[in-house]
């Protein structure tokens, strides 16, 4: 379970005070798949970094039941270490956690097989295509055995076909592992297709605009699910929310500036 309570983040520096997140409160149940959408520059990444413990919140708190947390970043090319081979990249967090070698080996093999890269152990990440690299990053997250998985716009940099494949992959991974999954995206369609719930954020200073339960059938398919009238309704509802938000801020991707 993941609980965000009264989270607020103000960036203060370089003579500029920026309130990225005003007040966020929401809960993601154990084993739930929740998506976070919002206009660009609304502090989605800030939120994720606060949850991952990479950034201290100005106030409020994040409570996570169960450890550990795994993160999949958007920039797979920079998140994977080019000097390590694929299997070594996946293994590294386990090695750092001092897991015994045999167990490490097993978890790495399983994770790479789960993302369809059973034969890429000895490749370097930069020898693989973008989609395959992101699969490696997902395998690293799976192998870590997380109870909470955070994903920060993980498919924003891959082509449409690869993206659809990766969406289906992540749904099957989630179903198999039963992890609590928080998936940040700016793509409304993606958020509806993937999650059980969509948390819609406002532009900065960020608040929760709406919490929408996605009551689509659990078995999802790129063609039939996206053709479902209910899919279109949910999509339209979220779209209307994001459209209503002050657009000039969204366009500039800037955050609310308190100094003006």
């Amino acid at each position: 379970m993941l609980e965000v309570q009264g989270l607020r983040k103000v960036y203060d520096g370089h003579g500029r005070r920026v309130e990225a997140i005003a007040d966020l409160t929401f809960t993601v149940g154990g084993g739930e798949f929740a998506c976070v959408v919002g206009p660009s520059g609304c502090g989605k990444t800030t939120l994720l970094r606060c949850i991952a413990g990479l950034l201290p919140p100005t106030s409020g708190q994040v409570r996570v039941a169960g450890e550990p947390i795994a993160v999949v970043f958007q920039e797979y090319g920079r998140s994977l270490f080019p000097w390590l081979r694929v299997a070594q990249n996946v293994e590294l967090p386990l090695k750092a956690a001092k897991m015994p070698r045999a167990q490490r080996q097993r978890q790495v093999d399983e994770a790479l097989a789960a993302v369809g890269l059973a034969d890429a152990h000895d490749a370097y990440p930069w020898q693989l295509s973008g989609g395959m690299q992101q699969r490696v990053a997902i395998a690293r997250a799976i192998a870590y055995g997380p109870s909470v998985l955070l994903m920060d716009e993980p498919f924003a940099a891959v082509d449409a076909q690869t993206r659809a494949d990766l969406e289906d992959l992540i749904r099957s991974v989630w179903q198999r592992l039963g992890v609590t999954l928080l998936f940040v995206t700016h793509d409304i369609d993606e958020s509806v297709y993937l999650g059980q719930r969509v948390i819609v954020l406002s532009s900065a200073p960020t608040r929760v605009v709406e919490n929408i339960v996605i009551d689509l059938p659990g078995e999802r398919d790129q063609l039939t699910t996206r053709a479902d009238p209910r899919f279109a309704e949910l999509r339209a509802r979220i779209y209307a929310h994001i459209k209503k938000l002050p657009s000039q801020r969204a366009e500039h991707g800037s955050t609310h500036d308190l100094s003006r």
């Binding site: 795994a70 970043f73 000097w83 750092a96 370097y124």
Partner: protein, 255 residues
Amino acid sequence: MSRALWGLAGLAIFAALGEALPRLGLISPLYAPPLSRILSLLGDQVQQPRFWTATVDTLKTWALGLLIAVVAGVVLGVAIGAVPVLRAATASTIEFLRPIPSVALIPLVSLLYGATITSTLVLVVYASFWQVLVQVLHGVADVDPVAHDTARAYRLGRWARVRYLFWPTALPYAVTGVRLAASVALILAITGELLIGSPGLGREIGNAQDSGAVPQMYALVIVTGLIGLAANLFARMAERRVLAWHPAIRGEVPV
């Protein structure tokens, strides 16, 4: 024509000039003997044990000094670079000590150690240490923020971060530092031997000059050049092996 052939052609022209200019009297053969004379004297030299003792002394001073400088530079560089407080505390001191030319320490070391290898070694270490240290510091500062976030998110401890993130990131810089340090170390080894009189090729060059053996002096100078060339070739080979994953070296990859 390939690059190697162009290179050989350039060398041949240079050699021809070295031979022809003194012979034509365009430059005085007294101060610049024809290349063939220098080379034949070099041939004599390599048969004498004295020459080899001097060469080994120079190589020893050079290699030992370089080794000390590289180890110290890498260890301190990674340690200082990985700890922001240390970095802030040492930056000004480093900037102050670094520009001091090693040769300015010659009076000090000859006072302390006399005309010994130790004297020259101190100069070599001092000069090449900064090359490595500064490069490693730059390298550690170049750690990718996303890679760093990844390391933190996956709870890599301090040692794991140094071993798997800071060190590999700094490695290309360190290799450049070692290459620079290798040539600086050779310069200082020869300078020290020449000016302090510690054993080695530099002292032999000085002796040759004192006794008016000009062609012999040139022969020894050529040897120091060859050592520098070999050191650089070796450093480049090592670079290609160590940095096979680096974008500058890995070449074309299927995308």
